[in-house]
């Protein structure tokens, strides 16, 4: 068994930013374990624009954004093991991984950061009625085939779900010569960012069917047709509203789920965001095991993943150098009215530098709201929001001075502005 200060599992934007954050705070003995042939993770296939406005103050494509981080990793000569799979992680921070060069390796780490990203919800999760021909795949898989392998998945395409990857693929497939007949969304509102609705659907006259879902798939060996129906308030299909589309491919863009297998193996609880329960430095209940990026909660932007993970890396450095008081008093952070989840889940005020950043999502689209932060019954901050939607993560900085004590509960809620 070898010993390393910090093991980072995953070399996407989260893993790279965490490595940079930790290195710059003095941790030089780092190893990144990456399953792919190159760093960058999903950004390798996200060739579209719109990255980097927060981190680099300019519009970059996914590969350009990722390359900025790779250059920083190379400058610091951080050890990366490619095409490597983590087989096990134990509570005492022993990581077992394997690849074809090193064989099976056991590392005893002072700290471990889980930066394994997320995966796409697939067809099995939603049980569409009908036949099971080929031609039903997730939007991200179609993106991989097209952008990295140059293969178009179909010629007549329908997209189920209005997540951002689906919208981006609607544009991409159209530009490559496929006909995208429409996008259906079971909710009465879109799950994608507004600017993607405009640039990806409106620009190409692709219809968006809100409150609609796919109610039948038809095809012997290859998908031939689908039927979509309008749904009522309880998401049950309404008879008589069926529309049929002749297509060869159905793309699914129905949500992303944190890749949390290692967390579950450790017996750690899973949050409402389907990630780890973490403190102000993204550390889990097991001291020295951290979680950051999309494996903690699915983000809207790689920029936000990068910022969070850099801060997680700094947290891991502070832990390794024994700079925190792990027994300091602690308060909980909880979602209140209209809030789906909040990150982090608990906070040791003594370990914060000057402010706490809370991240959260509302559970439905709301208008004319006030975001209210209540600490032990006292309102400590209010923010007016004319419009607030679930697909846009909220990020609020709360200065340390706002908290009168170190224990108790912080509740985040969204209330009508009356």
């Amino acid at each position: 068994m070898i010993e390393r200060d910090l093991v980072i599992i995953g070399g996407g934007s989260a893993g790279m930013a965490a490595a940079i954050g930790a290195y710059d705070d003095g941790v030089k003995d780092i190893i990144i374990i990456e399953k792919g042939r190159q760093l960058g993770g999903i950004l390798n296939q996200c060739i579209h624009n719109g990255f980097g406005l927060e981190e680099f103050k300019e519009q970059l494509t996914g590969p350009e954004f990722m390359t900025r981080l790779i250059v920083e990793i190379q400058k610091r000569k951080i050890d990366v093991r490619y095409q490597s799979n983590v087989l096990n992680l134990t509570k005492d921070k022993v990581v077992t991984f394997s690849n074809s060069i090193d064989g099976i390796v056991k590392i005893k780490a002072k700290a471990v950061i889980l930066a394994t990203g997320c995966y796409e919800r697939s067809a099995g999760a939603i049980q569409i009625p009908g036949e099971r021909p080929s031609g039903i795949i997730t939007a991200g898989t179609a993106q991989l085939y097209l952008n990295e392998m140059g293969a178009l998945v179909g010629k007549r395409i329908f997209i189920l779900g209005s997540g951002d990857i689906g919208l981006i693929m609607a544009r991409r497939l159209t530009l490559e010569g496929a006909k995208v007949l429409g996008v259906s969304e079971i909710m009465p509102y879109s799950n994608g960012l507004n600017h993607n609705i405009v640039q990806c659907l409106h620009d190409f006259d692709i219809p968006l069917f809100l409150s609609h879902t796919v109610t039948k798939t038809i095809g012997k060996s290859r998908l031939e047709k689908i039927e979509i129906s309008q749904v009522d308030d309880n998401f049950n299909p309404i008879t008589g509203t069926e529309k049929v589309f002749e297509i060869d491919t159905l793309l699914l863009s129905i949500g992303l789920i944190p890749s949390n297998d290692l967390l579950k193996k450790l017996g750690l609880p899973v949050s409402k965001a389907r990630g780890a329960i973490v403190d102000e430095h993204y550390m889990s209940d097991i001291p020295g095991i951290f979680s950051t990026g999309n494996v903690l909660h699915v983000h809207d932007l790689a920029d936000f993943v990068t910022a969070e993970s850099r801060s997680c890396g700094k947290g891991a450095a502070a832990y390794i150098f024994d700079k925190w008081d792990l027994n300091a008093p602690c308060f909980n952070v909880s979602p209140g009215k209209n809030i789906l989840y909040v990150v982090p889940h608990r906070v040791r005020l003594a370990n914060l530098e000057d402010h706490l950043t809370v991240k959260f999502r509302v559970n439905k689209p709301l208008k004319d709201q006030v975001l209210i932060f209540t600490f032990n019954g006292q309102i400590i901050k209010k923010i007016i929001k004319p419009i607030i939607i679930p697909s846009e993560m909220q990020k609020v900085r709360l200065p340390k001075e706002l908290f009168a004590t170190q224990e108790g509960e912080l509740i985040v809620s969204a209330e009508d502005r009356t």
Binding site: R37, I47, H48, N49, Q59, L60, T61, G62, P63, E64, T67, L146, N147, E148, M149, G150, R172, L175, E176, G177, L193, N194, H195, I197, V198, Q199, H202, D203, P386, I387, E392
Partner: protein, 114 residues
């Protein structure tokens, strides 16, 4: 009368533009500029891929170095189909000069060393 969703911020104002390019529904002045550009000469940055000869890659991601007229996007795609580049290639390398007479170059967005 045309309805647009402003894409400059997450607020996503619903803008109405009449035939004389008068804009209403905007929360801030930027909405007016967006609507006017969008009504007169809408432009977009185009991102795509081209074929590449390399050890471990078959496609190279590219983009137009500036926005091109929206109406020329499909013409640009056809030009990109004709291109084959060879590794090594670096971010910013020009793949096509002045694509479809737009005055805009197509550049690589990824480093592919070998």
């Amino acid at each position: 009368m045309k309805e647009l969703i402003c894409i400059l911020c997450p607020r996503g104002c619903r803008l109405q533009v009449d035939d004389d390019l008068n804009v209403t529904g905007n929360f801030c002045p930027r909405g007016i500029i967006y609507a006017k550009t969008e009504m007169t000469n809408p432009t977009r940055v185009l991102t795509s891929t081209v074929k590449i000869k390399a050890k471990n890659a078959v496609r190279l991601s590219v983009k137009t170095s500036q926005a091109v007229p929206k109406g020329k996007m499909f013409d640009c795609m056809r030009e990109l189909d004709k291109v084959m580049v060879e590794a090594p290639i670096h971010i910013g390398d020009v793949v096509i000069h002045n694509i479809c007479d737009t005055g805009v170059n197509v550049i690589a967005t990824k480093d592919i060393e070998e």
